[in-house]
Amino acid sequence: MTQNGTAVRLSGVRKTFGAHTAVADLDLTIEPGTIYGLLGPNGSGKTTTIRMMMGILLPDSGSVELFGGPPDFGRRSRVGYLPEERGVYEKMKVLDQLVFFGEIRGLARSMARTRAEEWLDRLGLGDWASKKVQALSKGMQQKVQFISTVLHDPEMLILDEPFSGLDPINQDVLEEIVLEEKERGKTILFSTHLMEQAERLCERVCLISRSRKVLDDDLKELKRRERSGVVAVEFEGEAPSVAAWPEVLDAQQVGDAFHMSLHDGVRPEKILDAVLAEGVSLRRFELLEPRLHEIFVRHAGDPGDDDAPSETGGAS
């Protein structure tokens, strides 16, 4: 299918609930075929934004476009949407439920069944197909819901916190699927409060904090721009006293490595000269890129609500 123009475009979107402003003056554009991350702490307006994209909520002002037009029924049906609230028919059997969702999304019954079975096997739920959904754990229910999102092979996936509540193994499985779907040409938008995940998957990120957009950029571009100039070095054997080197402004030991910030105007390669002069062997030399978390904190203050452990330093 051809994808002309943008997948999603929000301009000047604002949504309030009573006195609370959930989303303020948000502009964002999602190009087709990319993985786009909507990042921010809990309560920052991610879900509200997504619900407006899906036409579930109407903005108070501004415009929401899906595939170049209002998110009406025809356009919504081109999206696989995984809401944050894990709504399932608890009393239905797993396979029946998936077949139902496949059918209302336009698949023939037999096709829906075949695909559902394939997906269930792939996500390790094959044995649960004829169990009632309520017998499944929360994580399993989430996987079932994810299957219902991708079953009809939509051209775009909008996933609201798809990874929360999953164990690391299942998070990996899901990440793999997301990347695969991207390879198949799909546009993927997902929201998360886990910066690490976004860092691994996204090509472009939008950081939201307290209902406002803080950053919206290509992830590589962002990292290059935000580069801190910190150099990480690990030595074989005895480490020299790096803090005394003239190029180094400040040095901290992190595990076996030293993280050195350099004086203004000192190029990182200079450190290699110093190493050679010292006559020690190098195990690792790396220009540290800032973690997304750091960038976020730098621009918006500590997200606070972040579930992930602090993740400064220690890149490899």
Binding site: I56, F73, E90, F100
Partner: protein, 421 residues
């Protein structure tokens, strides 16, 4: 349309599979049969078990008559010699050789008052049976002493109103009578079915809508279906479950009439009268009309119940909000009960034209021939228009409501929903 079909199927299959449906469908007839059987059996048992009763006749005229009468009623009665002393019989009662004994004396012969001596008071079945046996014998005895006793005796048979149809021959009159009874049975059964269906299955539509809204499944569904498609699928699916249930009940009755009854009659001639029951079963016209009234009434109420479900956040709220709908169903049912008891007034025929009352009030009138055909036709047209209007309003409320997680709307907000949806 294919998607609507999927919604209908899901709604139908998931409901028919539930234990609640199976229990209520099979349970209703079984319960009724069971209650009748238990009541009969208990009464039978209690009368069978302790029957050793003695009879002492101090008057000398009634003893044998009453003994035979009680014998016919199934009691094992021993007529004691008149010289047997009361102390003796009392002792037998105390020793539990005898359960009770009955004393007939001169007062019995004149006023049918007799004494029943026992450690326990007689049960209601027993006292009724004994009393009527004794009264009958006393009356018989006294009438026998009169000259025109025979004619007076006939008075006690209750007299009779003999209807003589004017302008009809006997055969036609019999047909008309059968038709009247058929109408009555069909009207009562149909009215009851419509009442149960609108109330029970309307409420199920509400519940189904509310569940989807509460679990937020609706957000998943609505990205693939238009709200009206979902609502329609739900209403049709739940309604089909209701029809299935009624069809099973009707099939049970038909089975009973067609198979069980003839063999019952063959087995025991006592049941012969039941054979007449078959001729009172309604014809296809009445059944078709029932389906029409069911469809209109059910769609009318279930679309409004769906709107109520979409407006509310939980069952408690829904319980309050649906109250007006419940009243709209119960009021005509109560008016209809009055009609069945023969207390119909002409103005009620006009009340039956009110579309919200029509299913329960107009259908029985139509099959009982209480209203002219044009009135039934007008009522169907009015109902169809009302269904159309209600579906329009309900569809708009539903569309906004299912995705709104806020407070239940005030009447003013509701109007805004309807205008802006």
């Amino acid at each position: 349309m294919k998607q609507v079909w999927s919604v209908i199927r899901r709604e139908y299959v998931e409901r028919v599979k539930t234990r609640a449906f199976i229990l209520s469908t099979l349970g209703m007839p079984l319960l009724m049969i069971g209650i009748m059987a238990v009541v009969g059996f208990v009464a039978f048992l209690s009368e069978q078990s302790e029957r050793q009763i003695a009879l002492i006749d101090l008057n000398g005229q009634l003893g044998e008559r009453v003994q035979q009468a009680l014998d016919r009623a199934g009691y094992d009665v021993e007529l004691a010699a008149p010289e047997t002393s009361a102390e003796d019989l009392d002792q037998q009662v105390l020793d539990e050789e005898l359960e009770a004994y009955v004393v007939l004396d001169d007062t019995t012969a004149s006023e049918a008052v007799f004494r029943y001596r026992s450690k326990e008071p007689p049960g209601s079945v027993r006292s009724q049976l004994m009393r009527s046996a004794v009264v009958e014998e006393v009356v018989d005895l006294r009438l026998g002493q009169l000259e025109d006793g025979e004619s007076v005796r006939r008075l006690f048979e209750g007299g009779s109103l003999e209807y003589e149809p004017v302008g009809l021959d006997e055969e036609e009159a019999e047909e008309a009578e059968a038709e009247r009874i058929t109408g009555m049975i069909t009207g009562i059964a149909g009215g009851l079915i419509l009442y149960i269906m609108m109330l029970a299955y309307g409420a199920q539509t509400l519940q189904s809508v509310l569940e989807e809204k509460q679990s937020r499944v609706v957000e998943l569904v609505i990205s693939s279906l238009r709200p009206w498609q979902l609502m329609l699928g739900k209403i049709v699916g739940v309604g089909a479950v209701g029809l299935t249930q009624v069809a099973i009940w009707i099939a049970c009755v038909a089975l009973l009439a067609g198979l069980a009854l003839p063999s019952l009659i063959a087995a025991a001639s006592d049941f012969e009268e039941l054979a007449e029951f078959r001729q009172y079963l309604p014809g296809p016209g009445a059944v078709l009309l029932l389906v029409v009234f069911f469809l209109l009434g059910y769609f009318l109420y279930s679309s409004l119940f769906a709107a109520v479900g979409a407006m509310c956040r939980n069952l408690q709220e829904a319980g309050q909000t649906q109250a007006p709908l419940i009243v709209l169903i119960i009021v005509p049912f109560m008016l209809q009960m009055m009609t069945f008891q023969g207390n119909s007034m002409p103005w009620m025929n006009w009340v039956a034209l009110f579309p919200f009352f029509s299913p329960i009030m107009m259908y029985p009138r139509a099959v009982m021939g209480d209203v002219p055909a044009w009135m039934v036709a007008v009522s169907i047209v009015l109902m169809a228009l009302t269904v159309w209007g209600a579906a329009w309003v309900a569809g708009r409320i539903y569309k906004v409501g299912i995705l709104s997680q806020g407070n239940r709307p005030s009447p003013r907000e509701l109007l805004r929903w309807i205008r802006e949806a």
